[in-house]
Amino acid sequence: MDFGKLFELVVSSSLVNNYVFTMFLGLCIFFGVTKKMETSIGMSITFTTVMMISAALSWIVYKFIMVPLNIEFLLIIVFIGIVAGLVQGSDTVMRKLAPDLYNKLGIYLALISTNCIILAVPLQSVGNKYNFIETIAFAFGSGLGFSLAMIIMASIREKLELADVPVPFRGLPMAFVITGLIALAFTGFSGLITL
């Protein structure tokens, strides 16, 4: 096992090719939950977990069911189905078995099922022909990058709560401006790792 490559994969997917700041994916959740630090931390934990499980599941289904049956053209539909089914299933199971945890993190599950990063990660890992371990590392890195983005964003938005921002720019417009400026800073990472 090449640990160096796995490490590069995690760094690359979390910092260099951060989904939010270089590809501008997953913005609906990103802007939705980053008003408060508490919700962004809850979302980070739930999101990274779901991301890793769904990427692993998608990889297994692709490798052992879709490739032998020659139905790779159904990729997007099948992956959407897997994500939605997984999220709905874990929602039900969590509500019955761990109501405490459900009260804390359950509300984020419904939002995740329609997120684009959660679909982009299995699609990209299939496209780049990652093996099982690499897929999990890639999903972990992507989740980590998204969590980092949300936590940075929440801390900045909480700081700006009292700032004298011009009225037309309050709330969402300012969030877009901040995201753009963070993306500008993150261009510094470009060229760091070329996989």
């Binding site: 936590i151 940075i152 801390s155 900045i156 909480e158 700081k159 700006l160 009292l162 700032a163 004298d164 921002v165 011009p166 009225v167 720019f169 300012m174 401006v177 901040i178 400026l181 963070i182 500008l184 800073a185 993150f186 261009t187 510094g188 990472f189 470009s190 060229g191 760091l192 790792i193």
Partner: protein, 341 residues
């Protein structure tokens, strides 16, 4: 229509005694920092000639102009006399290559003052260093113009400057051997870099001039030692360990003297608004800047990483400030379980 209450309207300041009178003010600090940049500006004038001075003047005037126009246009109190726009313009001007066309400074100061500072609510609320966002914006928008560096001529009249690569650019493309070829021996290289006789941005080349200004600020107590020392120290250690072919063979002095490291460490990273206010947090901030600078210089796609390193750490400043929150004096610690009920 609802009126929106802004913090500006609630300007009744009440504080507990003792009330100490001090003649320190935002304006005084800003003007002193600008004055501390004077040696670097003089060296820039000596090496890069009148056009460089014209560029610096243009950024300063346009930064002040944009701030004035914005504040008049938004019916806000005009605060251009506090010197913060002058300082932003001066720093942006010192960070430009010496041969850029005149519209580059104008775009840069508009982005710096309006987008990065005023839109966030004015001085004190901006998350990013305005001058650095201005420069990063220019570097991404005009990548060709912003990376042409002129050879220092030391002749006050010559206008047709020859282009040359910066020391870090040579180091990135051709390695340390080529750099030695250009300068002869090691001591010559150090001394040339120290006085600023090398290609680079207008005000970043002369390490000694920036050092004089930075030490002056430190002596006057306007900046503390935490950020510059941890920034330069971590960068030097990392350059020593990872800078060469094998471990522990790098050249820390070369990395300290070249590029914008000195200017960044003393004047940009220490910005009150965008760096942590707690001392422990400042150390974390400085080490982070040093680490990211060397990461980008040695492994990244750009030859120079100081600007991006400081901007990235600016993103983390609110988090650093939260995690090093000092304890409230006299507060009673409440257990978590008890607090919930």
């Amino acid at each position: 229509m609802d009126t929106v209450r802004t913090p500006k309207e609630q300007q009744l300041i009440i504080s507990a005694s003792p009330h100490i009178r001090s003649d320190e003010s935002t304006g005084r600090i800003m003007w002193t920092v600008s004055a501390a940049l004077l040696p670097a500006t003089i060296m820039a004038a000596y090496y890069f000639g009148p056009y460089a001075i014209f560029l610096i003047a243009l950024t300063v005037v346009s930064a002040v102009g944009f701030e004035y126009l914005y504040q008049r246009g938004m019916n806000k109190e005009v605060t251009v006399t506090d010197g913060s726009a002058v300082l932003t313009g001066l720093l942006l001007g010192l960070n430009l290559p010496p041969t850029v066309p005149f519209y580059i400074p104008l775009v840069g100061s508009a982005v710096a003052v309006v987008l990065t500072k005023q839109l966030f609510g004015g001085l004190g609320f901006n998350v990013f260093n305005p001058a650095l966002i201005g420069r990063a914006f220019l570097l991404i928008s005009f990548p060709k113009l912003m990376t042409i560096y002129a050879e220092p001529t030391a002749q006050f009249v010559s206008m047709d400057a020859k282009t040359a690569a910066t020391p870090l650019g040579i180091l990135k493309l051709d390695g340390i051997g080529k750099l030695m070829e250009v300068y002869g021996d090691q001591m010559t290289m150090y001394s040339q870099l120290l006085i600023g006789n090398c290609a680079g941005s207008i005000g970043e080349t002369s390490a000694i001039a920036i050092l004089i200004g930075g030490l002056f600020l430190m002596f006057r107590g306007y900046i503390s030692w935490h950020i510059p020392v941890s920034f330069l120290g971590s960068a030097a250690v990392l350059a020593w360990i990872f800078g060469g072919k094998g471990f522990f063979t790098g050249d820390p002095i070369l990395h300290l003297l070249s590029g914008g490291l000195m200017l960044g460490a003393f004047f940009m990273a220490t910005d009150y608004v965008t760096s942590p206010s707690v001392k422990k947090g400042q150390l974390v901030f400085g080490v982070g800047c040093g680490f990211l600078t060397m990461l980008i210089r040695l492994k990244g796609g750009y030859p120079e990483g100081v600007m991006f390193a400081i901007l990235i750490m600016n993103c983390f400043t609110p988090i650093i400030d939260r995690s090093f929150k000092s304890e409230v004096f006299g507060a009673v610690k409440v257990k978590k379980e008890a607090a919930k009920q």
